[in-house]
């Protein structure tokens, strides 16, 4: 948001540059990024492959086209939000408010459409804008008010849920689900192109865009630089605050988009939409190799991370896993994935 307070002197700048890792994570070349991410993603992809193999042995229904698309559709809203979470985490931030922003985006869109009679596309745009604005607030709290991201977004997590209730409150004063009957928005959530569900297409397109953006644009590389070494990035002349703010805005917008998609799928904007989803979203990113201390991560890895979570959930039903083990298994998968990642780090 604000430019660096004073332009760094030459010795300062040299010292800062010396602090940056020699190659790789900060300000890497596009090819460098590709190589590192390829290695990082290979581990997650292998884990996913093993999981799929076990499941296809366990259930003849797993490797059917229908089930694969079921799994992909099931992970699509988490996957879309996890793209934003990855970008925030790479820049050294954290966004706990994503589930609430999802609900705000959904409820604002549905309300404007159903109760205010706004054109569907316009209502959806306002819903997305609400998400972007929410992200901006998160960004300003972190960069201007200097509140650490965990606390700032913990606060906005509650504020957002309250806003969702407020926007959804009907004449009775009780938070209600808001119905949504537009075919266009319905298509975003429940439509198919051939056999492929629309939310899956949206997720995959966004993953490609985000991956190219992070690897090939100046801003994308600045995000890695800021997360890798904040001081060095600042001394290099990167507008750290602006970069951080940008990441929260992206996360807000993507969360609201996930909310709109979910509204389309269910023809309803539920006030409890996305409650507690932040943990799944962050877990997807972390399983995919994104570091919680910034500077490392890729959206492709996150996609695989989200896929692992979705496949595990799919397994609960396909294999009829007893209910007591279900939540435990999710936790163990996270621990295993992150544990393996740590080990890989230690070895490299």
């Amino acid at each position: 948001m604000h430019p660096p307070t004073a332009s760094p002197s030459k010795p300062e700048r040299e010292a800062a540059l010396a602090e940056l890792p020699p190659s790789g994570d900060a300000l890497p070349s596009a090819r460098g990024v590709g190589r590192i991410l390829a290695i990082r993603e290979a581990g997650t992809l292998a884990a996913l492959a093993v999981l799929c193999l076990l499941l296809s042995i366990g259930s003849p229904y797993f490797f059917t086209v229908r089930n694969i698309f079921n799994v992909l559709q099931g992970m699509s809203t988490i996957g879309i939000m996890a793209i934003g979470a990855t970008i925030v985490l790479v820049a050294g931030g954290l966004d706990l408010s994503v589930g609430s922003v999802m609900a705000v985006g959904a409820v604002v869109t549905a309300r404007l459409m159903t109760y205010q009679g706004l054109e569907a596309w316009l209502a959806a745009l306002v819903g997305l804008a609400a998400g972007l604005a929410f992200g901006l607030v998160n960004g300003l709290l972190v960069t201007r008010a200097r509140i650490i991201p965990f606390i700032a977004t913990l606060g906005t997590l509650s504020v957002g849920r309250g806003l969702a209730y407020l926007f959804a409150t009907g004449p009775t004063g009780v938070a209600s689900n808001v119905p949504m009957r537009d075919a266009g928005v319905g298509f975003l959530g429940a439509g198919y192109v051939g056999p492929v569900p629309m939310p899956v297409i949206i997720m995959l397109v966004l993953v490609v865009i985000a991956a190219l953006f992070l690897a090939n644009t100046v801003l994308g590389r600045q995000i890695y630089a800021v997360g890798s070494n904040l001081r060095a990035a600042r001394l290099c002349g990167i507008s750290v605050d602006r970069v951080q703010c940008f990441t929260y805005i992206v996360a807000g917008g993507l969360s609201a988009l996930a909310g709109v998609i979910s509204t389309g799928l269910l023809s309803t904007a539920s006030t409890n939409l996305g409650q507690g989803v932040e943990l799944d979203v962050i877990a997807a990113a972390v399983i995919g190799g994104t570091s919680l201390v910034g500077g490392e991560g890729s959206v492709i890895g996150t996609l695989f991370g989200a896929a692992i979570m979705a496949v595990v959930r799919n397994a609960f039903v396909l294999l009829g896993i007893p209910l007591h083990f279900q939540t435990m298994i999710i936790g163990l998968v996270i621990l295993l994935a992150v544990g393996l990642d740590r080990r890989r780090h230690a070895n490299s």
């Binding site: 259930s59 229904y61 059917t64 229908r66 089930n67 079921n70 559709q73 099931g74 809203t77 849920r161 209730y165 409150t169 009907g170 004449p171 009775t172 004063g173 009780v174 938070a175 209600s176 689900n177 119905p179 429940a190 979910s262 799928l265 269910l266 023809s267 309803t268 539920s270 006030t271 409890n272 939409l273 409650q275 507690g276 959930r313 799919n314 609960f316 039903v317 396909l318 009829g320 896993i321 007893p322 209910l323 007591h324 279900q326 939540t327």
Partner: protein, 351 residues
């Protein structure tokens, strides 16, 4: 900054001192008037005047104030609130104020315990509260010891306490009603998937147990093919219903135990399996009723939420003004089976 903080702290200390002085004598005065005990805690039954109980003719010596502590975080609460408001209108003629108070968004003891304490401090004459978990028992006992009768409604802990009575669903009986119905729908060898709300919520698990007991009693060959939780979310129910149908091509039924069952209905409708995969759900929120009307949900089990909002306030008044004690500790509300045929009478007025 520090000077500001000091001012705030000092004013807080001063305020609490003044409050303590003001509340002191009242608290002492009310200690002497502990209300007598009501029916046995675990005695239970259905009363004929559920939802229609009338205020007694006797008038109290002073104008009474009754607090009804509730929630507004989901559409389930719309009829509960309107029930409480109906009680408020009926009792207004007798000079009674009924206040609908929403202390938070979840029904846990930390939220409702504090709200009970606050209602005692505000010198209400009676309190109706949700008593979601065991922690709330101590708060209830404290209020009763301060001379204020307490009724619980909607959900209550098994931990015995001094509440006068409870108005709400018999979760096990609701589950049994669903299980008996499912047996009829899926036939003797049907495969059924269970989507519960939360594994950790006792009422949800009681419904599951009632469901399975009744299903197996009526259809011993019927198979439960899986149990999953949807955390009261439509999206998760949608996904789980799809997974059930994928894993079991011959699936005959899905029971959605708790919140947002319409996600499962969406999945059944999308798969074109309405009428083939029989769906039984709980409660009558708008989204659910839409699918009942479409014939995607075969039946949804009610719990008379209007009576849950209405009856506690009226019965508390009858206790205070006329000394009337309800016949049971647990006044179970009807587990209505709502189908396409009788849906209209359970629909909420459109907002």
């Amino acid at each position: 900054m520090i000077a500001h903080l000091r001012t705030i702290v000092l004013s807080l200390v001063a305020t609490s001192f003044v409050m303590a002085c003001r509340n002191g004598p009242d608290a002492k005065a009310s200690n002497s008037a502990r209300p007598p005990n009501g029916p046995a805690f675990a005695s239970a039954g259905v009363v004929p005047d559920e939802g229609t109980v009338q205020p007694v003719a006797q008038r109290p010596k002073k104008a009474l104030r009754i607090a009804v502590l509730g929630l507004e975080s989901s559409p389930f609460w719309i009829p509960v609130k309107s029930g409480a408001q109906r009680a408020a209108r009926e009792l207004a003629a007798r000079g009674v104020t009924v206040d609908w108070i929403v202390p938070g968004e979840v029904h846990t003891a930390d939220v409702f315990g504090r709200a009970i304490d606050a209602a005692v401090a505000k010198q209400y004459d009676a309190i109706a509260t949700i008593a979601g978990d065991a922690g709330v028992a101590a708060f209830i006992d404290r209020a009763v010891n301060a001379g204020i009768p307490v009724a619980t409604y909607n959900s209550e802990t098994d931990t015995p306490n001094d509440r006068l009575f409870f108005v709400g669903a018999d979760s096990y009986a609701q589950g049994k009603a669903a299980g008996t119905l499912m047996c009829k729908l899926v036939g003797p060898t049907g495969k059924v998937g269970i989507i519960t709300g939360f594994f950790a919520v006792e009422a949800h698990q009681l419904r599951v147990k009632g469901f399975e007991d009744a299903l197996h009693a009526g259809c011993p060959q019927a198979a439960v093919v899986g149990r999953v939780e949807n955390q009261d979310k439509a999206e998760i129910a949608y996904q789980e219903a799809k997974d059930f149908m994928t894993a079991h091509a011959d699936l005959a039924g899905i029971i959605a135990i708790a919140g947002s069952p319409f996600g499962a209905a969406r999945a059944v409708e999308e798969a074109g399996k309405a009428g083939k995969v029989h769906l039984v759900t709980f409660d009558a929120v708008d989204e659910t009723m839409d699918y009942v009307d479409k014939g995607v949900i075969d039946a949804t089990i009610g719990q008379d939420p209007d009576a849950q909002g209405h009856d506690p306030a009226v019965r508390l008044y009858n206790y205070l003004a006329g000394g009337q004690v309800p016949p049971y500790g647990r006044l179970y509300t009807r587990a209505d089976v709502i189908t396409k045929a009788n849906a209209a009478q359970y629909r909420l007025p459109r907002q």
